[in-house]
């Protein structure tokens, strides 16, 4: 039998969740799931190219942190190569993310970035960073900027928090340790959110790190580290809210290790032959969207019809995004050299 790390317990009984909040989280997660399924379809139909990394299974982390604890469009979000759904949760319209995947001029990065480089200054999405761990210090820079505006420029409205997402593989890289040290040293308003999905492509987490409990690594920086069931959006939301409150109070960063799983291969180019059937089935049975749906029904916060209506609505949103992307113009070849310098 598969040995899985025991998941931290979380009692939903204590959760304060309104119907509107519950449905918004559900909708955000469904958007992430249906969007990514559509990406797979479009990739296999030859509509998008390159390395495309899907987020299926991990939705509770993006939704729980960004929708559950941050103010999208005000607080900063920093992502990795697996960035479509962080962009969506941060408020980047599905049309712009899909158009970017199609390489179109209307994409959020004007067709210059692609799957691994989603950016939106307007939505305070600092970007998708394609090399593992390189986004971590950049995110700390945004957090430093908030502290600087408050303490040096005297801007009392400067209270943004930065959420920096990365995977278990990044936690063995120097930039992880270097940045955690600086963030704790200077009490930066930042959440380091590790999405521990157990696998760095084909490298099992236990084979890559001396202590697989990533959250414990915070302690050596005098930082709070917490582990959370990353398949439970309400649990993620709870720890993120606590961390955000700590950051806004000037008490510094938090390392959140969300135990989660990707339901697909590393990328659409990965045949996913290494992970065992038992492991996949175990985690598929813990689908975070089904879990929240059941919770909302049990608590009488929603009806089956409510959830179906959301599913239908999101399918329309994603279909509309595909139509928009297909009908959008290609970037103008005369603008090949545009955006190299600030004046362009």
């Amino acid at each position: 039998m598969l040995q899985e790390r025991p998941l931290p317990t979380f009692s939903p009984a204590a959760v304060q969740l309104s119907r509107e909040e519950g449905l918004a989280l559900y909708e955000d997660m469904v958007l992430g799931r249906i969007f990514e399924d559509k990406c797979a379809e479009m990739y296999y139909r030859g509509k998008m190219f390159g390395f495309v990394h899907l987020y299926n299974g991990q939705e509770a982390v993006a939704s729980g942190v960004i929708r559950g604890a941050l103010r999208p469009g005000v607080d900063y979000v920093c992502s990795t190569y697996r960035d479509h759904v962080h962009a969506l949760s941060a408020g980047v319209p599905a049309r712009e993310v899909m158009a970017e995947l199609f390489g179109k001029a209307t994409g959020c990065s004007k067709g210059r970035g692609g799957s691994m480089h989603m950016f939106s200054a307007k939505h305070r999405l600092l970007g998708g960073y394609a090399f593992v761990a390189e986004g971590i210090p950049v995110a700390a820079g945004a957090a430093f900027q908030t502290k600087y505006r408050r303490e040096v420029l005297g801007d009392t409205t400067a209270d943004e928090v930065t959420a920096c997402f990365f995977g278990d593989g990044a936690c063995n890289n120097g930039q992880f340790f270097e940045t955690l040290n600086m963030a704790a040293l200077w009490k930066l308003p930042i959440l380091f959110v590790v999405e521990n999905n157990k696998w760095a492509i084909g490298m099992a987490h236990e084979r890559a790190t001396s202590d697989p409990h990533i959250y414990k690594k915070a302690s050596v920086f005098n930082m709070v580290g917490v582990e959370v069931d990353g398949m439970d959006v309400l649990a993620v939301r709870e720890v993120a809210q606590t961390a955000v409150a700590r950051a806004r109070a000037g008490e510094g960063p938090t390392l959140i290790e969300a135990l989660t799983y990707r339901f697909r291969g590393h990328s659409l180019a990965d045949p996913d032959e290494l992970r065992s059937k038992e492991e996949k089935e175990f985690w598929l049975s813990r689908d975070p969207i089904k879990r929240l749906g059941s919770y909302l029904l049990e608590q009488d916060l929603a009806t089956n019809q409510d959830l179906k209506t959301i599913d239908q609505k999101i399918k329309q949103v994603v279909e509309d995004a595909v139509t928009f992307a297909e009908q959008s113009p290609e970037p103008d070849p005369r603008e090949l050299r545009r955006y190299i310098f600030a004046e362009d």
Binding site: F119, G127, F131, I136, P137, V152, G174, Q175, R338
Partner: protein
């Protein structure tokens, strides 16, 4: 301002820009309490506080990335590389994020960032502390690369670099920090993209930058004695190159010699030579000549070190050969 030492000209540029714009801040190793390894930021932390003159842990790649994030969100960081060679440890952040991110993001973000510090071959500092990273970084799109060479241009160029909305790699030379020069009392800025015509002449164009400008100037009296009038151009902007100034001179002299401190392979001179071939081939009366450092790690031994770098006597003999049509 009266006579000013090179490192104080840099300090004055930073001080003036920090006073002018509260979003400008300095970060790096020992820039604060210690005042910078070469005293370029001496006492600035007392004036501006510890957040504006931020002492960082020794974590080049990550504090560079942090500066990039701060620049993307509205601040104007100046990174001091205690020694520019250390920035090899930050190559990823400089290339992927400082250089390419604006383009990759489709113009979503701009990165007003200066990365400055001493580079070049010093006095027996050993290979790692004697690097010329400008050659390594010149292929990264999105970076501006500037090399200053006098107290006057150091101050005016650094002020412009701080005000520029792009990432600027700003190279100083460890052996020029004690040069002195009378600087203007009034504020001045110098353009980042213009070469400096150091000496007008007619027989040959010498293209150089950083400390090698001074080696060329040391060779000048001997060249004059031999009746040779070289035109000397300090490139200043290593990327983009100032082709207007370079071209005007080549059209006048028809002969080109490049004197540089970087290694020959893949060096700044290699790129300049290729550009001259593409643009000005018909103007040339002789092949372009490059005097570069040897393609070796800089040796510690003083004699070997001297042999590694171009010396004034080599400049004299090579120019003489070039003008005498022996090349």
């Amino acid at each position: 301002m009266a006579e000013t030492v090179f490192f104080n000209a840099l300090r004055a540029a930073i001080d003036e820009e920090m006073a002018r714009d509260a979003t400008v801040f300095v970060l790096g190793e020992d820039v604060g309490h210690y005042g910078g390894s070469y005293k370029v930021t001496k006492n600035l932390y007392q004036k501006y506080g510890e957040l504006r003159v931020l002492d960082t842990p020794i974590a080049e790649n990550s504090f560079t990335g942090m500066a990039i994030g701060a620049a993307m969100t509205g601040l104007r960081p100046i990174i001091e590389g205690m020694n520019m060679g250390f920035l090899l440890l930050a190559f990823n952040q400089i290339a992927n994020n400082a250089g390419m991110l604006r383009y990759t993001s489709g113009g979503n973000f701009q990165i007003p960032l200066v990365i400055r510090g001493p580079g070049g071959v010093g006095r027996q500092l050993g290979a790692e502390h004697s690097q010329r990273l400008e050659a390594y970084f010149q292929a990264v799109p999105g970076l501006k690369i500037v090399a200053c060479s006098t107290p006057y241009n150091a101050k005016g160029l650094l002020k412009s670099a701080i005000r520029d909305n792009n990432p600027v790699l700003f190279f100083e030379h460890v052996l020029l920090y004690n040069l002195k020069e009378d600087l203007p009392e009034e504020e001045y800025l110098l353009p980042l993209d213009k070469a400096e015509l150091v000496q007008t002449g007619k027989d040959v164009t010498i293209l150089t930058y950083s400390r090698m400008r001074h080696h060329v100037l040391q060779a000048l009296p001997e060249l004059r004695q031999r009746g040779i009038q070289p035109e000397i151009i300090d490139l200043i902007s290593l990327r983009p190159l100032d082709w207007d100034t370079i071209s005007a001179s080549v059209r006048k002299t028809h002969r080109v010699m490049i004197v540089e401190e970087c290694m020959k392979t893949g060096g700044i001179g290699a790129e300049v030579t290729a550009g001259i071939m593409e643009r000005l081939f018909d103007e040339l009366d002789a092949p372009v000549v490059r005097l570069s450092s040897q393609d070796i790690p800089t040796p510690y031994n003083g004699t070997l070190e001297r042999l590694t770098v171009v010396q004034p006597e080599q400049i004299v003999s090579t120019v003489a050969d070039l003008v005498a049509k022996k090349i």
